[in-house]
Symmetry: C2
Amino acid sequence: MPVKRTRGQRAGLTRQGILEAGLDLADREGLAALSMRHLGAELGVEAMTLYHYIPNKDALLDGIVECVVSKAIPPRFTDAAWQEKLRSYASSLASVMAAHPNVVPLVMLQPAVTSRNMETMESMLQSLYSAGFDLQQAVDVVYTLTGFVLGHVAVQAGIQGVRSHGRPAEGRALDIDEERYPLLAQADKVSERGTRFEFALNALITGFEMARSASRS
Amino acid sequence: MPVKRTRGQRAGLTRQGILEAGLDLADREGLAALSMRHLGAELGVEAMTLYHYIPNKDALLDGIVECVVSKAIPPRFTDAAWQEKLRSYASSLASVMAAHPNVVPLVMLQPAVTSRNMETMESMLQSLYSAGFDLQQAVDVVYTLTGFVLGHVAVQAGIQGVRSHGRPAEGRALDIDEERYPLLAQADKVSERGTRFEFALNALITGFEMARSASRS
DNA sequence: CGCGTTTTCTTACCCTGTAAGATCCTCAAG
DNA sequence: CTTGAGGATCTTACAGGGTAAGAAAACGCG
């Protein structure tokens, strides 16, 4: 939907607007389609015009990451149990990423240390610390959780991201040799993976719980 | 170290050799430097020559992923406890990835379903299944473990991968506002992250263990 | 030797990010 | 109203990317 503009008319661009258009474009047509000219055309503008709002393409990508990550993170500073805080942060992050599978690669390739993120981390650290984890453990827990969520989303989305200049999706269509890999083949048929995230998240949190009690004795 | 060749002399290329040279180049100069022409020059050959061994660049990248992933996976079909199998698989994969940080992004962007991988998965599934996990759980465990390892390596390497056309490494150098984020700041100073992986891996495995016993009752 | 096959090179095209500068729009000062 | 001034937009241009098409060179076998 390239916006039409009569010659010489202003477009009324905004950094934020550009970022959102970029996210939208990536969502619809994949990361490969996210070029400056393409995005410009989407906004009814020439590619170079974007450079008045954004220093370069990396900054654009960073901005998009920031944009998408900030859509998550509702865990406000409540006094809920640390388990619940972790769970809610992880779930929210995972669901946001699942809603924008095409940009998952970008998020993985850049930590996006925004102040919003740091507040979230601080909040979780505090919960963990006052729940009896030592600081080192608390940091390990938070980092591990982040890595876990990203990794999970990455493998579950299959991800065709930066590569495969073709369309998104389409998935792998190779089938599995039942003779050599009986369990794998069988699993592939069932594969109701809806609960995998919760399962894994619970396992991880339980594991953290055990680590805490273990280190306390 | 571009190999010199007198005009018209053959270069003796091999698909495998090209892949290894590509991995080497990516290791040394980063993913951004891994272009067809560059890689060709490295092998003393024009870019187009590579296309007689490799259909396109995506295939090259896939091959490199396969190459690096196959360097891990020593977990042979022993009758060790499932915990040990998982641990050894995860550790080996993690250490291989840590040895090639520049290609971590590639690995995350593509599952690399090779027969070697599938054997490994089948082996782990079997261990888990005969240890009392139901099939669904076993699959969840394996996928979760993979995602966990990749995610962990990704966040720990910081990753400057595809982006930042400059050199690899250099890291982030921003410091943290101690007023707003006291715990984070303190943690950042200590941060002896050497044991984080083992900590997290143990937590995860413990969690799996609990999930199994829970579902058995 | 000659011929067919395999490997390598040449050229060309279109796409990308982006530096430099021209051009146009808008709006306030005279 | 005219006139700048400053900000927003467009034009042009360049280096580098992936790769399609075909020429040219080297090899192996008869």
